[in-house]
C-alpha cells in the first residue's frame, strides 16, 4: 500500500513540487476567505466556503502525493462527507431564513445581536 519510491526515481520523473500544490491550496483557501468576508448574501457565503474546503482538500491530496500513500485521499473523502452534510443543513437554514425574513442579507439578519 505504501509504495515508497526512492529519491532518485522521484527526481527522474518531472513531478510537481509539494510546495506548489500547497501554494495553490493556500490561494484557494484565501479566495474562499475573501468571499466569506466580501459577500453579505448567505448563499454566496456558503459557496465561498465550498471554495475554501476545496483548497483544504487539495492540500490533503498534495500530502498524499508527497508520501505516496492513500491516507490523504481518505481524509479528502471525509471532507466531502462533511461538505455534503454542511451544505444540506446550511441550505435548509437558508430556506427557513428566507421564509421568515424574506431576505438573505447577513447585515439585516442581526436579531441575535441584541
Amino acid at each position: 500500500m505504501t509504495a515508497q519510491v526512492t529519491s532518485a526515481a522521484v527526481s527522474m520523473t518531472a513531478a510537481v513540487p509539494t510546495s506548489h500544490v500547497l501554494a495553490v491550496a493556500a490561494i484557494l483557501i484565501a479566495i474562499g476567505t475573501f468571499g466569506v468576508l466580501l459577500r453579505r448574501n448567505l448563499i454566496f457565503m456558503l459557496m465561498a466556503l465550498e471554495v475554501a474546503l476545496n483548497g483544504a482538500a487539495l492540500a490533503f491530496i498534495g500530502a498524499a502525493a508527497r508520501w505516496g500513500t492513500a491516507d490523504g485521499q481518505v481524509f479528502v473523502l471525509f471532507i466531502m462527507v462533511m461538505a455534503a452534510a454542511e451544505v444540506a443543513v446550511g441550505l435548509a437554514l437558508i430556506l427557513q431564513i428566507y421564509r421568515r425574513a424574506s431576505t438573505l442579507d447577513a447585515d439585516v439578519l442581526d436579531t441575535l445581536q441584541g
Binding site: T13, P17, I31, L38, R40, N54, V81, M82, L91
Partner: protein, 162 residues
Amino acid sequence: MTVLFYASAAVATVASLLAVTRTQALHALLYLVLALFAVALCFLSLGAPFLAALEVIVYAGAIMVLILFVMMMLNLGPESWARERHLLPRHAWLVPAIMASALVLLTLFAVLSAPQQATQAASVGPKAVGVALFSTYLIGVELASVLLLVGLVGAYYLGAKK
C-alpha cells in the same frame, strides 16, 4: 502530468475568484462547478484518480445540484441581481482583499521558503484507498455515516414548512 496540474490550478484559481465575486447567483454557481472540475483535474494529475472521480460525481454533481435547487426555490431574478450589486459597493472590496492577500502572501512565503520536495509520480488507485478506508479509518467511516444521518435529519427538520 505537470503541465496538467499547473493549467488546471490556474483555471481553478480564476474560476474560484469569479465564483466568489459574481452578482448573479447562477453565474457564480457555474463558475464554482468549473472550479470543481479544475480541482478534480488537479487531483488526477497528483495521482488520485478515485478522488478526482468522486469530486466530479459528489461535489460538482450532487452538492452543486443541491445548491441549484435551493436557488430555484428562492426565485432569484433581475431584482435580486440589482440588490446583490447594491450589497457589493466599491469600498466593500478593500478590507477583505487586503486581509486575503496578506493571508496568501504569508502562506506562500512559508510554503515556498521550505525545502523543495517532489510529489511522487505513482498514482494511488481506488483499491489502496478502499483498503485504507475500511481498515485504518473504519471508525472514521462510521462517524461519517452518523454525520450524514444527522445532516439528513437536520435538513429535513429545518427545511420543513412550519
